[in-house]
Each structure stands twice: as structure tokens, then as C-alpha cells.
């Protein structure tokens, strides 16, 4: 059965995609446990769930990247093995993956016609025709000869969607497509999906954002721990009031834990209230004590980085962070957050401007100092690229815990490693931070993201931290670990350790920070005091800046 046929069989009554009893076991976890769901034509089916709920595994299965251990896949009523991406594409199922799948060195057109291996010559004319057709359905303006790697992230996202539609004549699967988009971009995407839906396409939309599911979905399926724990049918979705729906979905997503989590949240409010009643500058409470009343500890003045092909650079960034302050950095991903973090950490030399840190009572210029010296002075950095950058996956937990103190006593004496010291330190840290590992000698790459993050947190906050830069500190972590990490940031702030928190989750910043800086295209477009209207103002800044 070919893709056109699958899509056009509207009236036969068979669903477009049926997954029946899909089970997939990954080492240590049951990623998908007996999942059954259907996707209808002309419908947006939202898959909702936390990280680790099994969404991504389900996507790999639907796109042919992974073959399930058990269960049946029926496309247009016919059972299929779906054992390669090619097979899925041939059945008309196109996927927009979470990670970029454009070849950066090829042009847009080349990226799109890659995979059509029929014929001797590349059929560019046919490609252009199809590109026009799809671009007009989406309402997008696309330059076919632009080199993919030079496009902005949101432009690349559009190309990814066109690429998925190229062969995906029956169904389109989108894996967290909004994580890199501006609010305006999200709206644009919603419009595109509406139009595509109208052509009879079945759409699977994966997200962990509740409101997106409620706004865009015709049907919502909630996953938890690899299982389907609830489905909301189109009728219910249309008839229920959004606030009510939200509550209902939260209940499904977290089950009994939902109550437990609210307990935790309340607990921490009490805790921060009691430990720092007369320290309004701690900025720790969620109702946002705005003013950084402590002494300034770090100053950035007109810090700039030249833009490059892959980055907006930084433009005359001015920032002052006070002792014990938690400063948030909000913005759409890829607008200079990473650059700012690396400039602070000393991983990137700045092109102009100055960075100064208060050290032993006086401000000293640190713009030219390397990572090592800044670390020694108490300026720490938790990278968002946990596995790729923050740790050496093929080395032990113990070694990774002292990675930034190589050659230093007590772990090294006369540059010779003291295994006993390293080991004891690791054991102590593992206990204190509750790092779940078989032992200090286990390669850190084998641990889960949350445990790796705990280890990094332990390393960066050890021995006299004074200001810590957190880049997406809770990204991809489960709720419990996320809360633990936030709690740690808050506690340290109460002890006078400043923090710069970069996050894609506004909710997180509103929970933690006193002030929130909004970045766009490498500039700070505004700093918002946390308060009742903060969320709207930050959103305005992000969108407004986007319109520039």
C-alpha cells in the first residue's frame, strides 16, 4: 500500500496509525510498556509526558529508528514491521526529530531531495516544484539555495517540517518542535499544523508543555513511566474549560505524586521563609524580592563577542550581580545564553568590554583569566551539555568529581594522584548528594542524566563557591531531581552564593529568581523584576525583541 493510498482511505473507517501493545525494553528500564494508541487522519494527536515517560522511544518506533520488542503496528489497517526510517517514509510517515537532521553543509534544496535515489541526475526542477507546493501550504518563505547551516534555528525548523512532509504524505510526527521557538514561532507552528490537518494529514505532536497540548491537540494521550495513563478524547477536549483540563491532565501525568509534589513546593516556601526572614536580598522566595540588596560581586560592562555563522555573538552586555542574588536569564534558545555562560566561565575569550569579580574585597578584572583561575576564585559553571562537555563519560565518577582540581592537593601530591583521597571524596559526595551509582569507580557516562547533574552540581559547588552560572540546570530531569536542584540553588543563595540561572522554562525562573534578564540575538533587551506581571512582561520582551 503506498502513502497516497494510506492517506486517501478516509472513509474506510480504519485509523491511520494503530499501535497495539507496543513494548520496548532498554537496559535498566521498560521504556514503552504495552502502549496502545491510534492516530486518525486530519487530527493532531498530542503525546504528553515528562522526560523519561517514553515519548522519545515511541517516536523512534514510529519513525522506524527502533523496532519494538513486542506489539503490533498497523498503518492504514495493514500490519507492518516498520524496521527502518526508509520503511516509515515509504509508508508516508515523516518525522521532525528533536535534534537537527539537516546536513549543515548542504543547501536547503539538497537537504530536501536527499534520499530520492531514483534516477541518474538529481531532479532539482521537480524538487523546486514540490518545495513551492509545501512552502505555500505552510505559508513559509524558503530560499532553496541557502546553505542549511547558515539558517537561523526557527528557519531550520521550517525546513525540517518541509523535509518531513516531503515523504510524509500520510502522517507527520513532531518531537518537541517548540523547544527552540519563540512564542511567535509557536503560534506560527500552530497555524501550520491547522492547515496541514485540513489536508487530511494525521499529526502526532510530542510535548511536555501542558498548554501546548491543550491549545493544539485534538486528542491528548498522557504517558508516564512508559505507559499510557490517560487519554482525553476530542469531544472532552473541546467541551472542557482549559483550567479544568489543566488540572485533570496534571492529575493524570503525576498521579498520586501530584499531591506529594505540591507538598514539597509548600515545604520549600516555608523553609525559605524561616531561614531568611530578614534577608530580603536572598531573592529566594517565589513572590520575588526584587532588589539585589547585597554588595555587587560580578560586573559585566559592555561585554561583546563577534557574531559568527552559528551564533549571534554578544552585544554590549551590561550586568551586575549581587552577593546572594539569583539572577535569571530568559530567552528563546540560541539567542546568546550559551555564549553568555561561556564568557562568564572563561571558556570563550571576549572581544571587548570587561568582566570584573570582587575578590578579597576589591574588584579585579577577570576577562583575560582562564577557566581554571576563575574556578579557583569561586566562579563556577554548570554546562547544559552534561554528557558532551561537563563530564568525561568514559572516566569514573570519582575522577569526574575532581576534574576541575587536577593537580591540586589533597587529591594530588607533587602531581601524583592520591587514589585514597579521591575515593574518599567521591564516597562522601555520593552520599551527600544522593548520587545513584554502583560505585565511585563506575564510568559516569553510564549514569542517568539526573545523577550526572547531581555530580556536576557537587563538583561546581564544592570548596567556596561564590557565584555559580547554571545553564539549564533542570533540563531533562525528573520532577523530584529538579526540585532538589532548585532547592540547592536557593539554599546556597541564602548562604550568600550568587547564581545566574539560564533556563528555557519561564516557570522555573519565576520560581527562583529575583530579577530576570531577557536575551535576544545576543543582547539583553530588558531586566524584569520578579512579580505579579513578570511573566507577561518577559513574554513581551521575548516577542517584541523577536519582531526587531
Amino acid at each position: 500500500m503506498d502513502a497516497e493510498a494510506i492517506r486517501s482511505e478516509r472513509d474506510s473507517g480504519t485509523p491511520l496509525i494503530e499501535l497495539i501493545g507496543i513494548t520496548k525494553r532498554c537496559p535498566g528500564v521498560l521504556a514503552n510498556d504495552d502502549i496502545t494508541l491510534t492516530v486518525e487522519r486530519g487530527e493532531v494527536h498530542c503525546l504528553l509526558g515528562e522526560n523519561g515517560a517514553g515519548k522519545s522511544t515511541l517516536i523512534s518506533i514510529l519513525s522506524g529508528m527502533t523496532v519494538p520488542d513486542a506489539g503490533m503496528i498497523r498503518i492504514g489497517g495493514t500490519e507492518t514491521s516498520m524496521d527502518s526510517p526508509r520503511h516509515a517514509l515509504d509508508l508516508g510517515i515523516g518525522t521532525v526529530y528533536q535534534h537537527a537532521t539537516l546536513v549543515p553543509t548542504l543547501t536547503v534544496l539538497e537537504n530536501l531531495i536527499l534520499g530520492n535515489t531514483t534516477g541518474v541526475r538529481l531532479n532539482e526542477a521537480e524538487g523546486l516544484r514540490r518545495l513551492d507546493e509545501l512552502a505555500s501550504i505552510l505559508g513559509a518563505d524558503v530560499d532553496p539555495n541557502a546553505v542549511a547551516g547558515n539558517l537561523a534555528l526557527d528557519e531550520q525548523q521550517v525546513i525540517e517540517i518541509i523535509k518531513a512532509l516531503w515523504k510524509g504524505k500520510a502522517a507527520l510526527i513532531l518531537d518537541e518542535p517548540t523547544s527552540m521557538l519563540t512564542p511567535a514561532g509557536v503560534g506560527e507552528l500552530a497555524n501550520m499544523l491547522q492547515r496541514l490537518k485540513g489536508t487530511g494529514l494525521g499529526i502526532v505532536f510530542i510535548t511536555h508543555m501542558l498548554h501546548e497540548a491543550i491549545e493544539m491537540g485534538d486528542r491528548v494521550t498522557v504517558l508516564r513511566q512508559g505507559r499510557v495513563v490517560g487519554t482525553i478524547a476530542p469531544a472532552e477536549l473541546r467541551s472542557t474549560d482549559p483550567e479544568r483540563l489543566r488540572e485533570r491532565i496534571v492529575e493524570i501525568m503525576f498521579g498520586e505524586e501530584a499531591n506529594e509534589l505540591s507538598d514539597v513546593a509548600e515545604l520549600h516556601v516555608e523553609a525559605s521563609g524561616s531561614t531568611s526572614p530578614d534577608e530580603p536580598d536572598s531573592g529566594g522566595s517565589s513572590d520575588g524580592q526584587g532588589q539585589p540588596a547585597g554588595e555587587p560581586i560580578l560586573k559585566l560592562e559592555r561585554v561583546s563577542l563577534e557574531p559568527s555563522q552559528s551564533s549571534h555573538g554578544l552585544h554590549e552586555v551590561d550586568l551586575t550581580i549581587a552577593e546572594g542574588e539569583i539572577l535569571g536569564v530568559a530567552g528563546v534558545g540560541g539567542n546568546g545564553q550559551k555564549e553568555l555562560a561561556e564568557v562568564l566561565a572563561g571558556q570563550r575569550p571576549i572581544d571587548s568590554g570587561s568582566i570584573s569579580l570582587r575578590h578579597n574585597g576589591a574588584f579585579i578584572q577577570i576577562g583575560r583569566l582562564g577557566v581554571h583561575s576563575r574556578h579557583e576564585m569561586g566562579l563556577r559553571y554548570l554546562s547544559d551539555d552534561r554528557r558532551g562537555e561537563a563530564v568525561v563519560g568514559t572516566m569514573s565518577v570519582a575522577i569526574n568529581l575532581v576534574l576541575k582540581r587536577i593537580g591540586k592537593p589533597p587529591f594530588w601530591k607533587r602531581q601524583i594522584i592520591q587514589h585514597a583521597e579521591v575515593w574518599q571524596h567521591a564516597e562522601a559526595v555520593i552520599k551527600e548528594f544522593d548520587i545513584r551509582t554502583p560505585g565511585p569507580d563506575t564510568n559516569i557516562g553510564k549514569l542517568s542524566g539526573g545523577n550526572i547533574q547531581k555530580a556536576i552540581l557537587a563538583r561546581e559547588t564544592a570548596s567556596d563557591p561564590r557565584i555559580v552560572v547554571y545553564n539549564k540546570p533542570t533540563h531533562g530531569l525528573d520532577i523530584r531531581t529538579s526540585l532538589a536542584v532548585r532547592e540547592r540553588i536557593r539554599q546556597m543563595a541564602a548562604d550568600g552564593v550568587s547564581a545566574v540561572v539560564i533556563s528555557n522554562h519561564l516557570e522555573e525562573l519565576l520560581d527562583l529568581c529575583g530579577r530576570i534578564a531577557v536575551v535576544s540575538k545576543g543582547r539583553i533587551v530588558g531586566i524584569v523584576e520578579n512579580g505579579p506581571n513578570a511573566e507577561r512582561r518577559i513574554g513581551d520582551l521575548m516577542v517584541g525583541a523577536f519582531a526587531l
Binding site: V29, D83, I399
Partner: protein, 404 residues
């Protein structure tokens, strides 16, 4: 069903280690230095024996088939080989002598590979060290005491080898230019320059010498021999070098820095390890050992350098060190094995009337079989079917799409 899909896909929510290009292709599979559990030691030894002996036997069987096809008696051939290389005292001495340059080269490669740097220009570095020593040793011996001369010559050889890596080192550190291209190019130039040195600058121009070569260093002035045998002290230098490098890599802070660089360049940056300096230091250290190997070979064995001489030790040692996983002790064992194969091979082929390159064939087979054995072992450890089932599935399933 793809046996390779072992990674929980949810973990891809975060970026997994993405190594960039060639530099990342070389990873330290060896576990972290030091911290290891004593209990698994026996299992480790047993496994490494299996990973070495089995491929060796397989290679000899395949080699034996060739011998048989050529009308030679494989058993007799191997018997001669082993006898000549290990059992007969003179053969054993030859084997040990052959180890000296290979050990030093391996030491240089261990440093480079641990830091993720493919120094494939060992031949040029080796030949330059050799040529300069070959040219200077004899005349220096006339004006200074032997001990001083030897030390000076080794210093010169090591320095020249290191100097020859400066260009690739700087290009890698500053511009990120791939070192495979640059070291290979420098190696071509180095080998040519060495030959030029021998032919022009250091030519022994007494009449009656057919192939151009440097003056001969008197046997009495060469590296001291050990315990009345012909085995020279270069072997000791080689062993010390490999053990020293091993300790450097496993015990010291510099070693760990290099290993971090080799395992994950981004992490090295992140940890503030001074990537450029470490890269350059690695090249210099690696080149020094290569040059030293050339010097030792001339001072210990050859006594002079002929213009057409180039033993190409550098390349053979590459897979060897890689298979030893940059472990010094394993490297010494492998170097011994390689020396046995090449010395035994050379002598046995001479007896059998075959070209001595036959030894290369055996070495190549051992290397390839060891690589394959390693592959199956790592799959077995990951719990992905048994060796033969995997093999059968692989062949039958046409490597299903891009499964691997």
C-alpha cells in the same frame, strides 16, 4: 531486531558525547586510572589472554594455509620460527634487540593516542633522529668520551624528533588542522631530508662504498651491551620509556589531563585544561620518543645509516599500541610478540626460501584478528548475543539498513 539499540532513547533528550571528527575518533576505552577493583583482575588477565592467544592462533592457521599452498610444511616453518626467535640464544637476543626501537616508538604513540592525537609521522621523526646520529656519532666519538657522546647523541635524536612535530603541533593547536595530513606530510619531508643528510652532509666518501651511507660508529663506541650478550642497553631505555609513560599516564596529573583531552576535547576546554599547550606538549613528547628510537637503533645496532634504509617501524607500532589500549604493560608484551614474529619470520622465511615480507602477512593477520576479537568481546560484554549468533545474524540480515 537490532541488537545495537541498547541506549535508552530517553537519554538522547540530552546531548550524548558527540566527538568532533577525527580527533574524537580515538577514545580511551581504558577505565580511569588507578581506581580499580582487585577482584576482577584474574578475569581481566584471562580475557586479555583470550583476546591475544586466539587471534594469534587464527593468524598462524591462515598463514599456515598459505605456506601449505606454497608447498612448505607449516608446522616445520612455525617450529623454526619459534626456535629461531625465542629458543636459540642468539635468536632471543635478536628479538630483544628488535624490541628497543619498537618500545620507544610505542612510548611515543601511547602519549599521542592517549591525548587523542594521531601522530602518523613517526617514520620521518625516527629517520631524522637516526640520520643525524648516524652522521655525528662517529666523528663525535673521536673528540669526546663514549659516555658523553652517547648521551649527547640521544639528546640530539630526541630533540630533532620533537622539533619535527612542531609544525603539525602548532597547526593543530592554533587552526585545528587535522594532524594526520600534517604528520604524514612532515614524514615524507623528514624521510627525504634524512636521506639527503646521509647522501650529502654525512656521506662516508671513502672509496669502495657502493650504497651511500654515513661513517660507521666503532662497535666499541656503541651503546653498552648487557650481561655479555649482544643485547644493547637501548632495550632498557625502551622498557623504561614505556613504563615511564605508563606511570605518567596513570599516576600523574599531566597524564590525566592528557587523557581527558583524548577522551573529550570539549570537557578538557570546560575544565580549563589549557588544550593548546597540552596538544603541543603531546606532540613534542611523542616526537621525542620517535627520534630517540632512531638514535637508539643507530647507536645500538646499525652503527651507521644507509641512504636507502627505512625500517618503517612507526606504522607497525600504531595498531599495536591501539590494541594494547595504550596500556604500557600490554604494549611491552605486544612489542615482544611483534619482535618474535618479525625476527622469527625473517629467519624462518630465509630458511624456507620465502621473502621476509611473509612475516608482515602474519603480523597483519594477527592485528586484524585481534581487532575482530576485541569487537566480539565488547559486544559480548554489552550482552548482545553470543559471538557466533551475532556473526550469523549480521551476515544474514544484510546489516539491516544503517543498523551499523
Amino acid at each position: 531486531m537490532k541488537p545495537t539499540d541498547t541506549k535508552p532513547p530517553e537519554m538522547t533528550d540530552e546531548h550524548t558525547v558527540v566527538s568532533d571528527g577525527l580527533a574524537g575518533g580515538l577514545s580511551n576505552a581504558e577505565d580511569t586510572p588507578g581506581i580499580s577493583l582487585g577482584s576482577s583482575r584474574m578475569e581481566k588477565i584471562r580475557r586479555s589472554m583470550l583476546l591475544t592467544i586466539l587471534p594469534l592462533v587464527a593468524a598462524m592457521v591462515v598463514g599456515g594455509l598459505f605456506l601449505f599452498a606454497l608447498g612448505r610444511d607449516p608446522l616445520a616453518f612455525y617450529a623454526t620460527m619459534i626456535h629461531r626467535a625465542i629458543i636459540s640464544p642468539s635468536g632471543l637476543q635478536e628479538t630483544l634487540i628488535r624490541m628497543a626501537p619498537l618500545l620507544l616508538i610505542s612510548a611515543g604513540l601511547i602519549v599521542a593516542f592517549s591525548a587523542g592525537i594521531w601522530n602518523l609521522g613517526g617514520d620521518g621523526q625516527f629517520m631524522l633522529g637516526a640520520a643525524l646520529v648516524g652522521g655525528l656519532a662517529a666523528s663525535s666519538a673521536e673528540v669526546m668520551p663514549r659516555g658523553l657522546m652517547l648521551v649527547l647523541m640521544l639528546l640530539i635524536a630526541g630533540t630533532l624528533g620533537a622539533v619535527w612535530t612542531i609544525i603539525p603541533a602548532v597547526m593543530k593547536a592554533r587552526y585545528g588542522i587535522n594532524e594526520i595530513i600534517t604528520t604524514l606530510m612532515m614524514s615524507f619531508i623528514g624521510v627525504n631530508l634524512a636521506s639527503l643528510l646521509v647522501k650529502v652532509m654525512f656521506l662516508d666518501d671513502r672509496p669502495g662504498i657502493q650504497t651511500p651511507r654515513t661513517p660507521v660508529l666503532d662497535v666499541a663506541d656503541r651503546l653498552p651491551t648487557l650481561f655479555g650478550t649482544r643485547v644493547h642497553s637501548g632495550v632498557i631505555i625502551g622498557v623504561v620509556a614505556v613504563v615511564g609513560v605508563h606511570l605518567l599516564m596513570t599516576r600523574t596529573s599531566l597524564g590525566l589531563r592528557l587523557k581527558v583531552l583524548g577522551a573529550n576535547v570539549k570537557a578538557a576546554h570546560h575544565a580549563g585544561l589549557g588544550v593548546s599547550q597540552l596538544t603541543i606538549a603531546t606532540f613534542l613528547l611523542s616526537g621525542m620518543f620517535m627520534g630517540l628510537a632512531g638514535g637508539v637503533e643507530v647507536l645500538g645496532v646499525q652503527g651507521f645509516v644507509r641512504a636507502d634504509w627505512n625500517p618503517s617501524f612507526g606504522l607497525v607500532a600504531v595498531p599495536l599500541v591501539f590494541l594494547a589500549r595504550m596500556n604500557g604493560w600490554v604494549t611491552i608484551a605486544f612489542v615482544f610478540l611483534l619482535s618474535v614474529l618479525s625476527i622469527g619470520g625473517e629467519l624462518a622465511t630465509r630458511d624456507a626460501g620465502l621473502p621476509n615480507q611473509f612475516g608482515l602477512l602474519i603480523v597483519a593477520l594477527v592485528l586484524l584478528f585481534m581487532t575482530v576479537a576485541e569487537y566480539f568481546e565488547s559486544r559480548r560484554l554489552r550482552g548482545e548475543r553470543t559471538v557466533w549468533a551475532t556473526m550469523a545474524v549480521r551476515f544474514l540480515s544484510r546489516g539491516d539498513a544503517a543498523g551499523e
